[in-house]
Subunit: 244 residues, 2 copies
Amino acid sequence: MSVAARNRAVHPATAGEPPAGFDRLDGIGVIKHLVPHESLALEGDSADRFHRVLRGTIAGYKATADGRRQIIAFFFPGDLVGLTVGERYAYSAEAIDRASVRSVPQARLRELAASAPALRESLLDALHRELSAVQERLLWLGRKTARERLAGFLLECDGRVGLHDKDGRRIVPLPMSQLEIGDYLGLASETVSRALAELVRDGTIEIVRPFAGVIIRDHRRLERAADEGGPPGYSAALFSESKP
Amino acid sequence: MSVAARNRAVHPATAGEPPAGFDRLDGIGVIKHLVPHESLALEGDSADRFHRVLRGTIAGYKATADGRRQIIAFFFPGDLVGLTVGERYAYSAEAIDRASVRSVPQARLRELAASAPALRESLLDALHRELSAVQERLLWLGRKTARERLAGFLLECDGRVGLHDKDGRRIVPLPMSQLEIGDYLGLASETVSRALAELVRDGTIEIVRPFAGVIIRDHRRLERAADEGGPPGYSAALFSESKP
DNA sequence: CGACTGCTTGAGTCTGCTCAATAAAGGTGG
DNA sequence: CCACCTTTATTGAGCAGACTCAAGCAGTCG
């Protein structure tokens, strides 16, 4: 098992049961309903509240003056958005689809954390998980091809929100557009479309039409595509032979 | 002031005085001396210790099976390497130059943290600062040109280890090779060399020969190069005029 | 002094971007 | 329910920024 694959296995999902301590947040704050593309917070704003996703999907992103955009993270139900120690948000956040969040004042969290070590643990753990995920993506964006990035993305989504059908195949719902996937992976939307088409062509995945997710037809092959990015017929042995 | 520039100002330096609480680490653990390229830890290893840099520079990196490498962070004196909540290191670490670190068992840190809220605060803050830095770099690697990335890198280094000479100009020592800068920015070393040459050509910086750092001749221009990446003569007004 | 490592510069290539045209979906109002 | 308009996805053609490969040079260290 590769190092990357092992790391994925260590943090399989935020999707399982909520971390101990977070249930303390259940009753407090207010619930907000968001429509697609509705803004939740802007980079640089005073970080007075944070949000727990109840339903739908939120994107955290940074943008340049001339409109280029990089999505930092997607937040699914159970995830915390805008968790920060600093006094300003490090990135903007908006809804991908119809979403609901529980919005809680940061001050409220600090109070609770002071008296609840379990909650402190969970928060530290969430922060650390976020850090690990971002570090992994640094490798994708800096050193991986479009095909590798997309395969990695699908595996990540599979781990977080994937389901399985009766045949044991994995279904991965993708609520975000291909443009947004591109903004997450540092690619143009056309490149995402082409890379998806390539994975379909060699039988690795299948696309749910109209575009709403993928079905993983060959999980092993998808992992290989993410970790080495070579062409389908690529052989590692062949590679090491050619080095005398 | 742009959002990016403001963020840089908020976290000006790890270089100043050490955060309150870290002095608790002063007496404990053992000191290790490292020669250039000597390994400190490997990704996936059991994370039983962490390290505080005393002297020199450490690089944290991830690598793919076929040898591509992405440097996640450079650690300068005062920084903590290998801080983790998980039980395994998320990345490898090795020395860039001759370096010394204080190596402390994670367990020891947890003991101290349990009884010292100030230390806990500092650790949380360090973790958060690391997170912000990585998120900023996600934008660089995903959406910025070689020139913009390099300019951003020089500004980052200026904030963390920059000095100033008697003329008020900033001197930024760069202990790492251009190959390593490339591995940090997701670029080939040749591209780093060319981008540096370009910044020299238009009078933004000067290179300390033999390559050991840069002198910033025009700080404003360097900031512009980092935030918009346009060519030297670029005018924003001209740009918005052309949009009827 | 020679071997080695790191930097520079040029030439050619390639991956992924831009621009553009078309098709497919979804939403809205009559 | 249909006509219309907008948004999103697909596919092609051409382009460009950055990579690879290669040669030359400078500085360092044994």
